[in-house]
Amino acid sequence: MSREQIDATGNTTAAGPTRRTFLDWLVGGSALATLGAIVYPILKFMTPPRIVESTESSVVAAKIAEVPKNSGKIFKFGNKPGILVRTDAGELKAFSATCTHLDCIVQYSSEKKQIWCACHNGQYNLNGKNIGGPPPRPLEEFKVNTRGDDIVVTRT
């Protein structure tokens, strides 16, 4: 739409968009672009991310098949290590794997059927209680449930 106009400086503009409408287009265009630059992150934000929720209070520690009787497995629970143990009787138990003595990572000993810390020979029984060596406190116990194939460990 071209119109003849007399603008402030007294110039007549010929056919084609006038300075005014050009500026309008510019305003509209850049406004739209900026709006887009604002809406785009918002839309991305609302899209669920790869990991759908933080794994701090509950985590799938392992698959049922991965933990046979009389064995243990270390898993990650949020920012801390955990140990999953299946006893001889088949019961699943989970504890914090941070030794209460000097924070080493404990392991399961299938010969002694105990949880053992390699650093200074600390021993815990299968209730997490510190029964030998330097550790001053028991291991924190977690709740274990199974969901289909998965073993789910929850902080109590």
Partner: protein
């Protein structure tokens, strides 16, 4: 019941003899005495029927104990003799059992009071008032003594009569006064109670009763038996008269105080003269990681002198058993060492296991410097470039160095990313797995096998690499954000400028319209 009647029949029971005690039994209203096997306490009422023969020397009655031998049933040091108990009160003779019994109550109360209720003890009363500190100290210290807390008193160890009001009366040998024991007799002196299971179980059933026996297996005990007066005896470590329980923080044998107690003798070159052992153990120990754990971190599970050397049977562990001792806590290292070729080699050459590399008292935090083939390492002290050990040492060291370098570069880049404002707590946590692998590798070197070490180093390197990549990613994300910011700012500023132009345009239009 039987105890109550003892006062009446004291020292009059015909059944009593030198090696037997007496027991008083009520028979209807009569009281009879009969012989019983001798318990090992001397002044407690259960011992009624004994008196020391005047002038007899207690120690000569003791047979010499040989090291390691089973203690024979000790002969009592008190002898049956004519008693001239000054506290015996004259009583009317009466044949009525009831009257006899009733009258027995009176002296009984007088006799048993001092022993049962520690309210009157002339020993303590007198000694407290003495001016010589050496003589008053026992009475003053005794307030804190654990024996006092168990209602025992001076006479329960030293014999004598705490109810007497004169020195002669209290220290009457006929009342069982034993006096101050000779240094050589101290273990047996304490042992007369502490080695008696039947007696100790009345006070603390879980206390051991073999300290005396163990003591004579120790270097201290053996030398004492030979007549040397210098080695430590019970009172050297446990003190005397102010003995506290081991779990009392003020006790001289509380874990935090044990080293100082041992050092009282062992740190003095003068005192240890002639024994051919160094006197710098305490000074060395204070520099060790164990001392740091004990004194700075207050970790009572850290070892002090007795944890490696034993309590009563104190002796340095034999060369072939050092690994066992250290292995009480450092189980993994000991296990690996004992399966490694070093065990046989060390034992053959009579080199102390563990201590050859780590020292015995001045155990410093081990550094990687000790391992390897370069200047300053310990391996080259025995290994020469041609042998397998040299090669293994070099390989293990280089693997560990590689892992350390990888962890370092990863944590550096993650710290950079964190300082730049990126959230990297998850990758930092996962990098800890690599540090775990490093700790594990440093333990595995005790197997002297490069293969074993590589089994943990390789996965460790992978974790470290992953951490590095996370750091790189975080920094890249940061650059992306800054670029994004730049782009958005360009848009924003452009829009602001364009709006400004629009304002100008509108207002110019308005002014032209109004003119």
């Amino acid at each position: 019941m039987k105890l109550l009647a003892s006062g009446l029949q004291l020292n009059r029971c015909p059944a009593a003899s030198r090696s037997m005690g007496v027991r008083f039994r009520a028979n209807g209203f009569a009281v009879r005495c009969e012989a019983v096997a001798l318990p090992r306490r001397y002044d407690h009422p259960i011992f009624a029927g004994y008196a020391l023969r005047a002038g007899s020397a207690p120690s000569t009655a003791r047979p010499k104990a040989t090291p390691g031998a089973e203690p024979k049933t000790k002969e009592p040091r008190l002898r049956r003799g004519k008693a001239t108990a000054s506290h015996r009160t004259a009583k009317p003779h009466s044949n009525s059992p009831l009257v006899k019994f009733a009258l027995a109550m009176i002296p009984l109360l007088l006799v048993s009071m001092p022993a049962i209720a520690q309210q009157k003890s002339s020993c303590i009363e007198c000694h407290q008032r003495l001016e010589d500190p050496k003589l008053s100290a026992p009475a003053k210290l005794f307030d804190n003594d654990i024996h006092r807390a168990r209602n025992l008193s001076c006479n329960d160890c030293h014999g004598g009569d705490p109810t007497a009001s004169t020195k002669e009366g209290a220290k009457d040998p006929r009342k069982g006064y034993l006096g101050r024991p000779r240094t050589l007799d101290i273990p047996a002196y304490c042992g007369k109670c502490h080695s008696d299971a039947n007696l100790m179980k009345r006070f603390n059933p879980s206390l051991r009763v073999d300290q005396e026996r163990e003591y004579y297996t120790s270097v201290h005990g053996m030398r004492l038996k030979e007549g040397d007066q210098r080695p430590a005896t019970c009172i050297s470590c446990h003190s005397v008269h102010g003995i506290r329980a081991v779990n009392d923080p003020l006790s001289s044998v509380y874990p935090l105080n044990v080293a100082d107690t041992c050092a009282k003798c062992h740190a003095s070159a003068d005192y240890m003269r002639g024994f051919n052992i160094p006197s710098d153990q305490f000074a060395n120990f204070k520099t060790s990681v164990h001392a740091k754990a004990l004194y700075e971190k207050q970790d009572l599970s850290a070892p002090t002198c007795n944890d490696c050397h034993g309590n009563h049977g104190a002796a340095p562990p034999g060369i072939t058993s050092v690994a066992n001792v250290c292995g009480q806590c450092h189980a993994r290292q000991a296990e690996l060492f004992q399966k490694s070729p070093h065990k046989a080699a060390f034992d053959q050459r009579e080199l102390g296991e563990c201590v050859t590399c780590h020292s015995n008292h001045a155990i410093a935090a081990p550094s990687d410097q000790l391992l390897g083939t370069s200047q300053g390492s310990l391996c080259i002290n025995c290994h020469s470039p041609s042998d397998k050990g040299f090669v293994a040492a070099g390989q293990m060291r280089s693997m560990i160095d590689q892992l350390i370098a990888s962890i370092d570069s990863s944590s550096q880049i993650l710290t950079r990313a964190e300082r730049a404002g990126m959230e990297v707590s998850r990758p930092k946590f996962e990098l800890k797995g690599a540090t775990d692998a490093l700790t594990h590798a440093r333990v595995l070197i005790h197997s002297s096998s490069a293969d074993e070490v590589s089994k943990v180093v390789v996965p460790g390197l992978q974790v470290a690499e992953k951490g590095y990549q996370s750091g790189v990613g975080a920094l890249a994300e940061r650059t992306f954000r800054r670029k994004g910011l730049l782009v958005s700012l360009v848009f924003i500023l452009f829009l602001a400028m364009v709006v400004y132009l629009k304002i100008r345009q509108i207002e110019r239009k308005a002014t032209t319209a109004s003119t």
